[in-house]
Symmetry: C2
Subunit: 393 residues, 2 copies
């Protein structure tokens, strides 16, 4: 397998863009990535397009990627539409990586694009929860609710087990809101305090509004090529994909003996890249709800059980800490257009690794970074999707 | 790139299976393929699942493949959901092929599954035509209509240009209905006459009912592995994938100077496989409407302009002819569950190449065969998808 480099990234701002259809959100990201990489549409040999709920929300069920790409002037190549819930864009990147790593092609494009604002948020939430063929007996609640109140998992259980407080849950949101306040592409650009987060209205006890990612429109794209060709296109620092691991499996409940797929996916990514969590200098991770960040710290090996809040208290995962987490603002502040999120994470890390992140630039420019992405978390089912991508300069 | 072999195939019958959800259609195909290949679920390293309209029709928008596969006992691996209209299953096969060819994994599963009968055929047709972000000014008609009456293309124009008659259009349907009558998995198992096809009710002039593929439920799957590992799993003849080409591009109109993507895709497949159309000993092609088969003969290089009907008159593409086309019965008789069709074609060719096709077995067992698949044909847009896979024993 050949070494693969990301040579260009682009993103549309996240937020509410009611007037823009899927293809216009995609256009900005795709042309941003092409310009950044110094490649022309004709240089692209293959494209992977991630989108999750466009069929239900925009009515564009078939050939979504072809529609988005032809609007951007890209045609005549293999185009693969991929879906993996909130990991759809990460899946698109993995497809592009494999095409180039295998030697099948030299240059590939990965796109993630999602339009969630359709003027009917019930329909948007319904589409996110579309699980008609799963056993609904233990479901019947949307993501936020199941995170918050499912008797076996997460928040209430963790408060009991670890002694975590509401203020602890708020800490990632506060940290990330500061980062997001510095990000011109972020959906929410205001630094919050612990008090503001804790006292914002309750969505589902114990989750408050500012602990939850919002509905969001957005798009991101990346151009990847064989590492030895990078200089042909651009003088910018190429960012190598050291590992790109995708898994589907179990979101582990406490009384479940099966391995936790979030942890095994990260472990596999570390092994392939030949590094450990101690080597990471920046992380973008899937904080769809702020407390998830605390739990992911454990699964990624950044800290031991229950130590998440301390990692923030000690400043370790803050913007200028030892391993900054979610410098973009993360899902709660940067935004979470589901099928675009995986590539929004990649774009942020590439900008950070090149020193192009503006006001939110990590002073010690990261040389090793991880994007962690997940989706389809349906309790006790085998349908959770996890992705870890490790980047190096 | 390593040589890749198909070592097992499976299919659910095509037809109306109102009581079966997506996952149960998939189960029969997946377990058929695993049994046929002699592999256990734990042997599968990665899976690609093709489906086109499940989001709109069954409400299962996200992680469709994970739902189907967990029902079949397969979990813990990378699962990639792919969509490419009627070429969704062909796209899944290409994904599985690339995983193994690249050396990323040894054994991969490709699945295509589609549920179209939901008791509301208007919704099914609506989902097939879901093109909300395309320019609808020249559309506003579903597939059958655009094939039949679009002023610039196809049927009426060909009748004028080539002197083709309604009887000529009926010939592929008649040939394929005979093949389908011998196929226990086919949706329509009755041999038709030219008169029956021509005199069946008009769907859109000049297309009659028996010239059109029906709404259909179905599923198919294939297990692929590195060719040098085939014997480890099964004593059956491995079927090598000599080329697997996917393209998106233009369905060319007569006054259009752009290359025709159906033809360029076939040409690329021939080149990679190192063969020409004269070497083919069996073909499964995308006869969603019977006259399309006549036009595809030209695009695949099986005959010159206007010579399609003669190829059938001379018996060349009949079941025991020089190059049998659609031995399964094709889309009009075997059935066309859109996201499964590409792998139904592959399953048929594998059975034929192994001499396992029962009553419809081609006497001279084919050693070189092509599966041709296409979708998303939106006139004059760049969103047509084409796939050609060449198989060899």
């Amino acid at each position: 397998m050949r070494e693969v480099a990301i040579i260009g990234v682009g993103a549309h701002a996240t937020g509410q863009f009611t007037e823009k259809p899927l293809k216009e959100l995609g256009y900005t990201a795709i042309w941003g990535a092409l310009d950044d990489a110094g490649v022309k549409p004709a240089d692209i040999n293959v494209a992977y397009v991630g989108n999750s709920i466009g069929g239900l929300l925009t009515g564009q069920e078939g050939v979504r990627g072809q529609v988005v790409l032809q609007h951007s002037g890209i045609t005549g190549i293999p185009i693969v539409n991929v879906e993996n819930a909130c990991a759809s864009a990460a899946t698109a990147l993995r497809g592009a990586w494999l095409e180039v790593a295998s030697g099948a092609v030299d240059v590939a494009l990965a796109v993630g694009v999602e339009k969630m604002f359709i003027g009917d948020s019930a329909r948007t939430i319904g589409a996110l929860s579309a699980v008609s063929e799963l056993d609904l007996s233990q479901m019947g609640m949307q993501f936020t609710t199941s995170y918050a109140i499912h008797p076996k998992i997460n928040l209430k259980a963790r408060m009991k087990e670890y002694g975590w407080t509401l203020a602890d849950f708020a800490k990632p949101a506060v940290k990330n809101s500061f980062n997001g306040s510095l990000n011109p592409l972020a959906q929410h650009r205001r630094a919050l305090t612990i008090e503001q987060v804790v006292q914002s209205r309750i969505v589902v006890d114990p989750l408050t509004l500012y602990m939850c990612a919002s509905i969001s429109d957005g798009a991101a794209a990346a151009v990847v090529c064989s590492a030895d060709l990078a200089k042909k296109f651009t003088s910018k620092t190429p960012v190598r994909i050291a590992s790109c691991v995708l898994r589907s499996g179990v979101y582990r409940l406490p009384d479940d003996n099966r391995p936790d797929t979030a942890a095994t996916t990260a472990q596999a990514a570390y092994e392939v890249a030949g590094i450990g969590p101690e080597d990471l200098e920046a992380v973008e991770l899937h904080d769809a709800m702020a407390p998830a960040e605390l739990m992911l710290y454990e699964r990624l090996g950044l800290c031991g059980p229950g130590e998440g809040p301390k990692l923030i208290d000690d400043g370790i995962t803050m913007l200028q800490g030892r391993v900054p987490v979610n410098p973009s603002g993360g899902l709660c502040s940067r935004g979470h257009p589901v099928g675009a999120t995986g590539l929004l994470q990649i774009a942020e890390l590439v900008w950070q690794m090149r020193g192009e992140a503006g006001e939110r630039q990590i002073d010690k420019r990261p040389k090793v970074a991880m994007a962690q992405n997940q989706g389809g978390l349906l309790l006790g089912q085998d349908s959770a999707v996890y992705s870890c991508t490790i980047l190096k300069t």
